[in-house]
Symmetry: C2
Subunit: 222 residues, 2 copies
Amino acid sequence: MLVAQRTVPAGTDIIHDGEEGGPFYTLWAGWAYRYKSLRAGAGDRGRRQQILDLLLPGDLIGLESALTGQACHAVRALTEVVVCLHNPKAFLRLFDACPRLAHAVVETVIRDDRRADMRLAVVGQRNATQRLAHFLLDLSDRLSQRDLVEAEGQSLPFPLQRRHLADALGMSGTHVARALAELRAAALVEVAEGHLVLRDRAALAALCGYRAFDGMGRRAIL
Amino acid sequence: MLVAQRTVPAGTDIIHDGEEGGPFYTLWAGWAYRYKSLRAGAGDRGRRQQILDLLLPGDLIGLESALTGQACHAVRALTEVVVCLHNPKAFLRLFDACPRLAHAVVETVIRDDRRADMRLAVVGQRNATQRLAHFLLDLSDRLSQRDLVEAEGQSLPFPLQRRHLADALGMSGTHVARALAELRAAALVEVAEGHLVLRDRAALAALCGYRAFDGMGRRAIL
DNA sequence: CGTATGCTTGACAGTCATCAAAGCCCGTGG
DNA sequence: CCACGGGCTTTGATGACTGTCAAGCATACG
């Protein structure tokens, strides 16, 4: 299959909210995130946005758009990003012709569904510190599955800023700093220089009730 | 196709969290909800649960379980409920044989995905009153699509108790009562006798930034 | 060196959870 | 028929959690 690559600088939108008939991609390198900027409700001033999910190398970007023709959220590059462009029409033909692909797609979508459920439960029921701990553990596990963790010290690359954590967890940047400081003070995590170290996964998991996500075996679908 | 019906009294679990190889259903009559009870984190006392979504007549229950063999959440009957039992294996065979069914399944799952994104954004970014308003508008629209609204007065059946709203929106039952009182005082909604009336949809929508969900055309897939 | 950006910290205010009490509705039993 | 009890809702008082505003630092960059 013909493959087109595209390199996108950090901070650029790869897919726009509401975009129709857009292409879809595999994220080859770098981090991105799905997000939604909310129309201000009455009395809201600041324009907040909700980060719906992080996209890590290997993830699909815009599958929804390929399957339905329209995207319901935007995707933005968090770091510089290399994406691999797919052809939606060819993909749809393949989807129809190949039940195994269809299965794989459904499993991918369902896996995302489950993680979405988990996030909703965490944001709805947990306090700031627990939300943060949960987020970091989930991230760490996803990176592990892709062998992107430096095995020794549980050290992960961490290009996220406070404000990204805030938008992902539904809290203010200031309070993210407080929660992080708390975890640091308890010697549970360390953040420095674009890297994150989880010092005590067990204690973190106990703090927020995190349970590793067994889910379905991970495999690339494209 | 042979169809088995089952009637389930209110308050009973139809699917249990983590259940493997369970059946799946179409919700024929009555309301149910998907939910997750969280393991207590450190310092948590009460056992809270997060309602992930309401299930209304016509919705599928346990599709995830049919496709992957395992459920990641429980489903409980909110009212007395009539479900129609499907055969997971036959369904999977059909899924492989019939691309149109596969498409329909994917669209259903993706529609749920979008609603999940919306809920996350609302719970993460909105205050109590806005969350409640958004929930009620969304519910009203879903019921409209099924012709379950008494057309004249925007009056909906409303079997939910305060505590269900609280568990769905990530707030306390007490505060739900306050938020509802506020909406009532502003003459935006009325609640009585298991019914809900939306007095001013436009004002409600403006309050919480709700945008009707165009999504894909609604059609039954089974 | 000046400016811009992001992180951290403190003070204060608003939102919301918790606890508690009182009213309402309804089924039960006297 | 009416008293009683339990569940649900409403309301108030109080305090915890979190957002906002602001200032101080460190770093990067022109």
